[in-house]
């Protein structure tokens, strides 16, 4: 990031993550480099299988059990490498720096324990405070995440709360360790529109007031438009396009980004041409083939696209922060982008 003088909080360099099971070996993340700066919202956008979750949770050692993971490259947080650490050390680094909000709060919370004590024990573990202090912290967290009547809700079981309330508890849990970075993995996908709006509002509030960086993993362009400062568009484990939210969403350059944006209808404004989507389906990531992963679905694909992996290059003349992995689109210039 050439326009920022700040040190990144969390960065990954040339990250490659292979997932191995007895049946298949999948290259989930294929050479990704990204930085997260203090207080910013970085949206990692992609469809299922794009590696957005593996890329963020993999270096933190939070991938599901039963899969063998091979991580190469470099990942660091506040100057400390996250890779090649023991489970204990990684857990400590994770607790000090990250708070994680999962898509489905009901499976992330213990159904047998009341939510207040769950929060308190998390705070006790991460902040090394006494039981009494932890209770105070837990109540304060419930208040901070906009849960009405925190004293009353303290003694509720997860199943007694609605989806929106649970997601607030999940956020409170993520905040329990005073994290510098919140990782929100599809935080509103399971929620209804009116509740989703409330949760996004809350996240925005936390980010602005407390200057916590947020890595927002999502497939929902509308959520990105509402929340993000910067966007990384992932396709098949690689960054297709990276830049500020305005650049990527209003002046997309990569054909995949364009296709993705044109797949999302907007009911505001004029009713335009019907959306078409992108023909075909995401590639099989179990075999490593040369060239651009998007080539087989790309309307602009040429011979060279299937031969050589496109490098992520800076759009030097426009905005150095805007990087695109498509030499063809870059050479055509960004003037032709579908500025809607």
């Amino acid at each position: 990031m050439s326009d920022s003088t700040e040190e990144p909080l969390f960065s990954v360099r040339d990250l490659v993550i292979d997932l191995y099971t007895e049946q298949v070996s999948v290259r989930a993340v294929d050479g990704v480099s990204l930085d997260v700066y203090p207080g910013e919202v970085l949206a990692v956008v992609g469809e299922s299988g794009s590696g957005k979750t593996v890329m963020t949770l993999g270096p933190l050692g939070l991938l599901p059990e039963g899969v063998s993971v091979d991580i190469r490259g470099y990942a660091e947080c506040s100057g400390q490498s996250l890779l090649a650490r023991s489970g204990k050390e990684l857990a400590r680094l994770r607790g000090e720096n990250f708070g994680i909000i999962f898509q489905d709060p009901i499976s992330a919370l213990n159904p047998m324990k009341k939510v207040g004590p769950q929060l308190a024990s998390q705070a006790m573990r991460l902040r090394a405070v006494s039981k009494a202090q932890a209770r105070v912290i837990a109540l304060e967290l419930l208040q901070r995440t906009g849960i009405p009547d925190p004293e009353g809700r303290y003694n509720c079981y997860p199943h007694e709360m609605s989806g929106g309330m649970l997601q607030r508890v999940m956020i409170a849990l993520a905040l329990a360790g005073n994290p510098k970075i919140l990782i929100a993995d599809e935080p509103t996908t399971a929620l209804d529109a009116t509740v989703q709006a409330q949760i996004l509002e809350l996240l925005q509030d936390i980010q602005r007031k407390e200057n916590i960086a947020i890595v927002l993993i999502t497939h929902d362009i509308s959520v990105v438009a509402q929340m993000a400062d910067r966007v990384a568009v992932l396709y098949a484990g690689r960054v297709a396009e990276y830049g500020t939210m305005e650049d990527v969403l209003t002046r997309p350059i990569h054909p995949y980004t364009k296709g993705l944006l044109s797949s999302v209808p907007d009911f505001r404004g004029q009713r335009t041409e019907p959306v078409t989507g992108i023909p075909g389906s995401p590639p099989d990531q179990s075999s490593l083939l040369p060239g651009c992963r998007f080539a087989e679905r790309c309307p602009a694909a040429q011979h060279q696209c299937r031969e050589k992996r496109p490098a992520l290059v800076e759009m030097a003349d426009v905005n150095k922060a805007h990087r695109v992995a498509c030499p063809i689109a870059v050479s055509e210039g960004w003037g032709q982008s579908n500025d809607s």
């Binding site: 009116t194 709006a197 797949s263 209808p265």
Partner: protein, 320 residues
């Protein structure tokens, strides 16, 4: 939206209650709904989870028994049609939310597509093969996928299989329960355009349950907005999106973020307080009054009826 001569499907005062934990307090999933769908419509049922839209859809294909009221298909009561399910199956078909669950994990695509033909004793093996190839072409499935199992297909292809299977018996009504929510964005758009192509090509009447308002605006001709088991507003798509009249519709529309950052930054948000109340004990009067930003005392006392408006549409609100 009014019943006319070519009404294909009609619902009259439909209620569907479930036995909840509390015997005296049933879950009132659908609580008095009436509407008529003309032939060739592409109608959307929108609302948040728990509003009863899925229950309503399931009642329309007889997967759920109505507690009271009627479902009429071509003026015939669904209960009499259900005496011979095969008859109903030829007229009304259903597309499920999650295609992976709706397809047997042990059947190849070919077997799944052949199943309705076998149940209805359609033709011989050759005739069936021909029909299956037709169906695959209709929904854009490559023939090479016919021998594969659902789990080895992509999400979009699975949903295409489910749609092809629903169309195998040439139904006139297709009821789709959140057919897009399990799919990726770029694939959703493919399936949406498939639906509108099919509708035009086959003259289908489609009722689509969804929470995705942008998709509704894109392809549907008319919309019913549901809240806690009731229809709050029903109208043709254009006027509903241009001038939402019911406060709930307004809030629902305003809550959806826009994918365009320019629009997004100027969006007027009506953030509703709290969450929908329990359908076991819906609020008195207008069900929405507990969250409605415009509620007046009358709203909690008297339940508004869904009545036609001067310009267009049907609205259940005292203030309109």
């Amino acid at each position: 939206m009014t019943a006319n001569t070519n009404t294909l499907l009609e619902v009259r005062d439909l209620t569907v209650y479930f036995q909840g934990q509390n015997k005296h307090q049933p879950v009132r999933a659908v609580d008095g709904i009436s509407f008529a769908i003309p032939e060739g419509a592409f109608h959307a049922l929108v609302g948040e989870s728990g509003c009863g839209k899925t229950t309503l859809a399931r009642t329309l294909v007889g997967l759920q028994q109505a507690t009271s009221g009627e479902v009429l298909i071509r003026n015939q009561n669904i209960n009499s049609l259900l005496k011979n399910r095969k008859l109903l199956a030829k007229d009304v078909q259903f597309v499920f939310q999650n295609p992976l669950g709706a397809l047997s994990r042990r059947q190849t695509v070919y077997q799944s597509l052949e199943e309705p033909l076998l149940i209805h004793n359609v033709g011989n093996a050759d005739r069936r093969r021909q029909r299956i190839h037709e169906l695959a072409e209709l929904v854009g499935l490559p023939l090479s996928s016919l021998d594969r199992l659902p789990r080895s297909l992509s999400g979009g292809q699975r949903q295409r299989v489910a749609i092809a299977r629903a169309l195998a018996l040439e139904p006139s009504i297709l009821i789709c329960d959140e057919p897009l929510s399990a799919l990726d964005v770029s694939i959703q758009a493919q399936i949406v355009s498939l639906f509108s192509q099919l509708q035009q090509k086959l003259g289908l009447t489609i009722i689509m349950i969804t929470h995705d308002l942008a998709v509704v605006r894109e392809v549907c001709t008319s919309v019913s907005v549901m809240y806690l088991g009731k229809v709050m507003e029903a109208n043709n798509t254009e006027p509903l999106f241009a001038q939402p009249a019911h406060p709930y519709t307004q809030a629902l529309l305003s809550s959806v973020p826009s994918p365009d950052p320019n629009t997004e930054s100027t969006r007027q948000r009506i953030v509703l307080r709290g969450e929908p109340p329990s359908p076991m004990a819906p609020p008195s009067g207008c069900r929405f009054h507990t969250r409605c930003p415009k509620a007046v005392p009358e709203c909690s006392a008297k339940e508004p009826v869904l009545k036609p408006q001067a310009n267009s549409g049907l609205i259940a609100c005292h203030l309109v």
